[in-house]
Symmetry: C2
Subunit: 307 residues, 2 copies
């Protein structure tokens, strides 16, 4: 079942303790759609400028991503510049240039409006609402957001959240959004805002899924070399939503598999700069790491041990 994503496509300049890259492919919708494309057809709605390299367009096309909603406008592409210390969990933003993204007003191609699975990347909540005004009866609407919108456009965000089924946030964001320090209470508060499912991303500590009567915990894969955490959250969401969309249902068994698949994809993304690790990633590698997650977390229940 087709999966629609609306968000940013960007050129990133990133510095980590392990190296530096200038103007490489980035953006929430880019990471998301690339990760999701390993599982399910993806339709991308975003904007780039005249300077956006054609090679990047070709890369997305080669991954089978629908680009009818990717418009090229006069001006420069959105740029983000960030830096990470050894504490790789949090980026320091050095510069943001919205450029063509400043006037982004997502317009869905007719053929995309019936997408049953929708992911609203981390953009202004009013733009997220505009997307929802255009889609026709989606099965599942997921969204990402950040401190900037939680603080600055809270009313608009709360309005959007009423129409969202699943929210991706990190620890700090859910605390800020809910006003609750305790994560369990914070998730319950978010349920009352609309989303009946909340995924709390905790970087190197993994992710938690909260449904009303059901919690699932997935660790992050313990990696020896994390080169660049940029896009890990969107890659997680891409693996997650791609898994749901291809299954076409979201019972607990599928939701749990989606959590693990999100973690699998994120674990690859951070191994190299930009989307480089996803470029040559193969299905057997994905399956192998999924099995490694099983090995990482599996234990016998008490009955089996006592037998």
């Amino acid at each position: 079942m087709s999966l629609l994503v609306v968000g940013s496509v960007a050129l990133d300049s990133v510095e980590t303790p392990f190296g530096k890259k200038e103007e490489v492919l980035g953006g929430s919708a880019t990471f998301f759609s690339t990760a999701a494309s390993f599982f399910n057809p993806v339709q991308l709605v975003a904007v780039v400028g005249e300077d956006f390299p054609e090679a990047h367009v070709q890369f997305l096309k080669a991954r089978g991503i629908g680009l009818d909603g990717l418009t090229r406008e006069k001006g420069r592409t959105f740029r983000w510049k960030g830096k990470y210390g050894f504490q790789l969990n949090e980026a320091q933003t050095l510069d943001t240039q919205l450029n063509v993204f400043q006037d982004f007003a997502p317009k869905l191609p007719e053929a995309y409006k019936g997408a049953p699975y929708v992911f609203l990347g981390n953009i202004h909540p009013e733009l997220q609402s505009q997307v929802l005004d255009q889609v026709k009866g989606p099965k599942l609407v997921a969204a990402d957001t950040m401190n900037f919108w939680i603080n600055g456009t809270r009313e608009a965000l709360l309005k959007t959240l009423k129409r969202v089924n699943l929210l991706f946030v990190n620890d700090a964001e859910i605390r800020q959004l809910s006003g609750e320090h305790n994560i369990v209470k914070a998730a319950r508060a978010v349920h009352t805002m609309g989303p009946s499912r909340v995924v709390v991303k905790r970087g190197e500590y993994g992710a938690l899924l909260f449904e009303k009567d059901h919690i699932f915990a997935c660790p992050a894969f313990p990696l020896e070399d994390v080169f660049d955490p940029t896009g890990a959250g969107d890659t997680f969401a891409g693996g997650f939503m791609g898994t749901l969309a291809t299954a076409g249902r979201f019972e607990p068994d599928v939701i749990r598999r989606a959590m693990v698949m999100g973690s699998v994809m994120a674990s690859f993304a951070v191994e190299r700069f930009s989307l480089d690790r996803l470029r040559d990633l193969t299905q057997p590698e994905i399956h192998k790491r999924f099995s490694e997650f099983k090995r990482l977390t599996h234990f016998e229940d008490l009955a089996a041990l006592q037998a």
Copy 2:
């Protein structure tokens, strides 16, 4: 198989955002032995002062803990005073009074020297070594330590670690001990110091076990109310070591169960002040929470899902 613990028995004064307790039962060996006593006979070696309430001794006795190595010396009992903010992961120490603990020289009763399972609580590494000088061919020696010893008595600690099979540390401690920021590399560095097994405790984020070719991740139980994290790490170690000792072996299936049981016991300990939640804890409650951990972490492998 009997389990020996050497460490501190203390009177704690603790303040958290949820309340305040003065001079309640505490200490690494107290939390450890109480937790372990749910699984296996425990022999405690520690020192208290003349002011140590007899009711606490009776509590430990009622839990079946061997107290032949608990000596009462002239002077006051070891006292610790700490405070937690909403970020419950780290305590701020307000005051430490060593008192009788200052001259503690652990002397093992003859009957304790053959203990196959040994836990060296967080005390001076030279005292830890003195304990190991007295035991006769233990099957497994586990130890805890902290930043104070890693910084201040590094040489003595490295000498002790050569004789330790399993080390319990937290994130910050393993980074400090190894000089590696990455946890996987840090664990590998600790393996070369002696311990072939390392458990990294990460508070609300759970715990990781590193063996040479094997990693296991266990989340912390998502609790709505964490009242007092004091002793969570030692309670974890108690549940862990009690589980190993009662199994009498440490193949991966048992080690994994021990990790989960450690997490189960720690999840109870933090629900109330001091050891209060462990006082009325029952085996059915322990088994129920173990099952809840299974539910929290379980997912089907891909083959099962595709079937």
